[in-house]
Amino acid sequence: MNEHKELVLEVKDLSISFDLPNGQEAKVVEDISFSVYKGETLALVGESGSGKSITSLAVMRLLPIPPGRIASGTIRLNGHDLLQMKLKEMSSIRGNEISMIFQEPMTSLDPVFKVSSQLIEGIRRHQKVSKKEAFEIALGMLKEVGIASAEKVMHEYPHQLSGGMRQRVMIAMAMANNPKLLIADEPTTALDVTVQAQILRLMLKMKEEHGSAILFITHDMGVVAETADRVMVMYAGQIVEEAPVKTLFTEPKHPYTIALLKTIPSLDENVRRLPSIPGTVPSASQLPNGCRFAARCEHAMPICSEKQPDMMEFAHRQQVRCHLYTEKGVSANVEAEHFA
């Protein structure tokens, strides 16, 4: 499929469980597989509780274990299995080959150290350079992420910076060691739209110039459309649909994806009532036997509450997990209904 592209991250059959105090087991992530290639942005979309952040923490090996537990699966970065690595090896990969940007930049920067010392520490951890050289690299990074008064910002503490500025510092820190994989967990959710536009543009520039692979976690479909190359939709711990970005928006197949796209208030159309998805996401400790979306799905059939659907392949590398497409004839109906 992607022979010409270099595979960076490969996650196979990953399942993550949490052991609850009452002895129950919550399957937070079940059997997910995906790959991210060099110079590509893969967006991971889902509502809260869908397991998207847990997946990214597992890749970073930052899951709280216990109560968390990786029940099965492999996570390979450039062919090396991260789950088999010793903690020491892992920490030389973190911040070097994989970097992460979090949603709330204030909680991920250390409030008692100046920006300069935080950046220099990260650089010297992975590169053999003197303090002075590291300072120069850090300064260069800040300039690259569009901070005009980089010299001044270097000597400031995180609380002296605005939200957008802090997120820029986080990006500078994440990119300082030229990571092969950048994980961005809702990087712009806490920011205003005008600042969000700046940050998204900056991340695009970083991808193009450094060729990093980006795993972009978000719940905002507008952001997905602007940044992603491929999209994965997660629901209650499973991937329900995966497709190239354009295919996902023009020919969504899973009823959850279709509903999700319809619930966004549009700026161009005037509708009196927004379509909404009734009910809420099932809790990870009380998952239904059949399809996890069945209870909220308007196309639910008897089989949906009995048997879990399997992932099915379609043209254009689109994959869908839904019973509607398992029997021929039914699928044509659904499409006619939605695209008429």
Binding site: E47, S48, S162, G163, G164, M165, D192, V193, T194, V195, Q196, A197, Q198, L200, R201, H219, D220, M221, G222, V223, A225, E226, V245, K246, F249, T250, A259, L260, L261, T263, I264, P265, S266, L267, N270, V271, R272, R273, L274, P275, S276, I277, P278, T280, V281
Partner: protein
């Protein structure tokens, strides 16, 4: 539009907050959270207030409810100034207004049952017997789409969307005419967000409510509002009928804000440059037009004089020198 009944009118409202000085020698400073705002809200309409964080939109809402004492200016509710109201008269006025908050997790008392949470405002403000109050709680729960047995449960047993429904039921408990909703759906997932928006619109139709809807999300505001006001650094820079404002934004800030929203459109790629820099500190806002430091169309006059909000056409008002004689 002026023929419509005005429910609430705000005239030259200011809410300033003094800033603690680090030393006595330092100059006295104030944060002008709400600076000279005049708006009117008509009966039965929804006025949307949009702005980025720090623009003063929440302070405006709180000042109108008299939760924050205004520095100067007038607030008229049904033609009556509310500043002087005290005691009984203030209580009566407060019965007419309620607020729905952003965070459904911290705005409900975790140690109270849902029935008691919704009943509490009735105890203070309505002369109903215990029986009648309970009956009304049941009706309200049904109205916001919750089951009757919710009465005996605690807030932690509900999801975010359900809690926001409870917050709305509590706001409706004393039959208000006017509701200020401060980012009521920002903490919710999109699929749940639309449920709550639909509920709010249904309730407006049923009960003839008037809303002031505060949000940073331009899509949500457009969906629910009739008219929209755009705030920047404590001031309204543009205000108008929603379709006019979204289709033909006049103020450069409104234009930039609308251009910054990520859109699902693969045919036309965005080419406008995003707005540079951050919101200036409200402690020392720029002299002249508050937006001139980030404005792509700034002229010399913009840093000297402050533009006033004036009518451009029947549907829009804008505060910008681009549309004034002096500027051209």
């Amino acid at each position: 539009m002026s023929k419509q009944n005005i429910l609430l009118e705000v005239r030259d409202l200011k809410a300033y907050f003094p800033v603690k000085r680090k030393s006595l020698r330092e100059e006295k400073k104030v944060v002008k959270a709400v600076d000279d705002i005049s708006i009117e809200i008509f009966k039965g309409e929804t006025l949307g207030i949009v702005g980025e964080s720090g623009s003063g939109k929440s302070t405006l809402g709180r000042t109108i409810l008299k939760l924050i004492e205004p520095t100067s200016g007038e607030i008229l509710f049904e033609g009556q100034p509310i500043q002087q109201l005290t005691g009984r008269a203030l209580q009566k006025f407060r019965n007419q207004m309620q607020m729905v908050f952003q965070d459904p997790f911290s705005s409900l008392n975790p140690r109270m049952r849902i029935g008691d949470i919704i009943e509490e405002p009735m105890k203070l403000q309505l002369s109903l017997t215990k029986e009648e109050r309970r009956q009304r709680v049941k009706e309200l729960l049904e109205k916001v789409g919750l089951r009757e047995d919710a009465m005996r449960k605690f807030p932690h047993e509900f999801s975010g969307g359900q809690r926001q429904r409870i917050g709305i039921a509590r706001a409706l408990a004393i039959n208000p005419a006017f509701i200020i909703a401060d980012e009521p759906v920002s903490a919710l997932d999109v699929s749940v967000q639309s449920q709550v928006l639909n509920l709010m619109m249904d309730l407006q139709d049923d009960l003839g409510l008037t809303y002031m809807f505060i949000s940073h999300d331009l899509g949500v505001v457009k969906h629910i509002s009739d008219r929209v006001a755009v705030m920047y650094l404590g001031r309204i820079v543009e205000m108008g009928e929603k379709n006019a404002l979204y289709e033909n934004p006049l103020h450069p800030y409104t234009q930039a804000l609308l251009a910054a929203i990520p859109v699902v459109d693969f045919d036309k790629k965005r080419d406008t440059e995003p707005l540079k820099g951050d919101l200036p500190s409200p402690m020392d806002p720029p002299v002249g037009c508050v937006f001139h430091t980030r404005c792509p169309k700034a002229m010399p006059i913009c840093s000297q004089k402050r533009p006033v909000l004036s009518s451009q056409n029947n549907q829009q008002r804008v505060a910008c020198f681009l549309y004034e004689e002096e500027g051209i």
